[in-house]
Amino acid sequence: MFNSYTETTLQYDAELCINCDLCSIVCPHAVFTRGEKAAILANPLACMECGACMLNCPVRAIYVDAGVGCAAAMIKAALQGKKVEEGTCGCDDSSSACC
């Protein structure tokens, strides 16, 4: 109950994996762990959709709709008439303490 964090956009195709280990190295939440023949998607719900694994996967075995999970940025985007997905973290202007 009252948990909006029960799904993410992370997709992983173990068939394509060449087991280079980069996804488990770059993930800050141990979503991927090292496996015998391919990386293991161990904890998908911990994914914060930062996109590091997707960017560093040399064989495109990982897809995630990467973005910043920042309500302030999304609400600001919505108020400006944009889609909430277009919100980017506003840390370059001193308006918010975000990240």
């Binding site: 956009t9 959709e49 975000c98």
Partner: protein, 326 residues
């Protein structure tokens, strides 16, 4: 090509500490920058390791301070004064800037090594295999935190703990001062308006609601019930309003319906202020996904709007009723 570099040390001076303090309380937040380019830490040779960081002064300082006693090179990317993780999320700490900076500093001619050590969180903006293809430099991701860098260099690899981003009490406390400053003016404005409607009682209530969100919420975050920040915030806001509800109930006179109506803004409106600020804290946290935050926004912003609207209507209605001699 410049083929030039600036010398630097691991020393953190009083001026650096003053800079950190200013950044943490939000003074001149965009001015804490280091000039992008190549820096020589200590007395590096062409075989010394190369570390890459952002041109946010706090990032640069954390890196050089944690490398005390190490001779090495520091390649500072132009991230417009933003820290590594945020800049990586925007792509300014990214593949293109890294490639460009390698070329403009003439790094290839200055060092013999073909390995770059990047902070792990830089991976959100950098494609290691593309950097290798375009420059010949192999990107290796070091630990999340600079403080673990020496151990990483010594062991040649990062432990699982070094690879995980945290959000512990110290990390959360660091965020409080800048948020106090950020919410000061809006709170002052709200307090001024509320003073005319509800006197000192309303002013104290709104200040309490904001402080609950800005100070108590970050501290209590892991222990507040439920996952959603909005719900955690609402419950916290409701609890801090309980004394106000008791006081309102015991001190208010008049018909029963007016006493009940007076409770509603305290139960709905003020806690929504706490909930809204709490929801905005998702951006400061280190674990909320965009999918989840989006769901929170669509689920709770309308409810917050209703709670707030009802409270405003009741407050104005009661003020009008009182003014008319009710």
């Amino acid at each position: 090509m410049e083929n030039e570099f600036t010398k630097t040390t691991s020393q953190i001076t009083a001026a650096d500490r003053w800079d950190t303090f200013q950044a943490r309380v939000g003074i001149n937040r965009s001015l804490h920058r280091v000039r992008p380019g190549l820096y020589a830490l200590g007395s590096p040779t062409p075989d010394s390791p190369v570390f890459v960081t952002a041109n946010y002064k706090l990032s640069f300082n954390a890196l050089r301070a944690s490398l005390a006693g190490v001779d090495g090179w520091i390649l500072v990317l132009d991230t417009h004064g933003i820290n590594v993780w945020c800049a990586a999320g925007k792509g300014t700490f990214g593949t293109n800037e890294l490639v460009k900076r390698i070329e403009s500093t003439g790094l290839k001619d200055i060092v013999k090594t073909r390995v770059l050590t990047l902070p792990q969180l830089g991976a959100t903006g950098v494609m290691a295999h593309i950097v290798k293809k375009r420059t010949g430099f192999k990107v290796e991701y070091g630990p999340v935190r600079a403080e673990d860098l020496k151990e990483y260099l010594f062991n040649g690899q990062a432990t699982a703990a070094m690879r995980k981003v945290r959000f512990n009490i110290k990390d959360r406390l660091t965020l409080i001062p800048v948020d106090i400053i950020n919410y000061f003016l809006p709170t002052l404005l709200a307090a001024l308006i509320l003073y005319f409607l509800g006197g000192c009682f309303a002013v104290t209530a709104v200040v309490t609601s904001v402080l609950a969100a800005v100070v108590l919420f970050p501290i209590l975050l892991p222990w507040l019930p439920f996952h959603d920040f909005s719900v955690k915030g609402y419950l916290l806001g409701f609890v801090v309003m309980l004394p106000f509800m008791v006081q309102s109930w015991t001190n208010s006179t008049g018909p029963l319906w007016s006493r009940i109506l007076r409770l509603l803004p305290l139960a709905l409106g003020y806690p929504v202020v706490t909930a809204f600020i709490a929801l905005n804290f998702t951006g400061s946290s280190t674990f909320t996904s965009r999918t989840g935050v989006k769901k929170e926004i669509f689920a709770y912003i309308p409810v917050m709007g209703w709670f707030f609207g009802i409270s405003v209507a009741i407050t104005l209605g009661l003020a009008a009723w009182k003014a008319l001699g009710g």
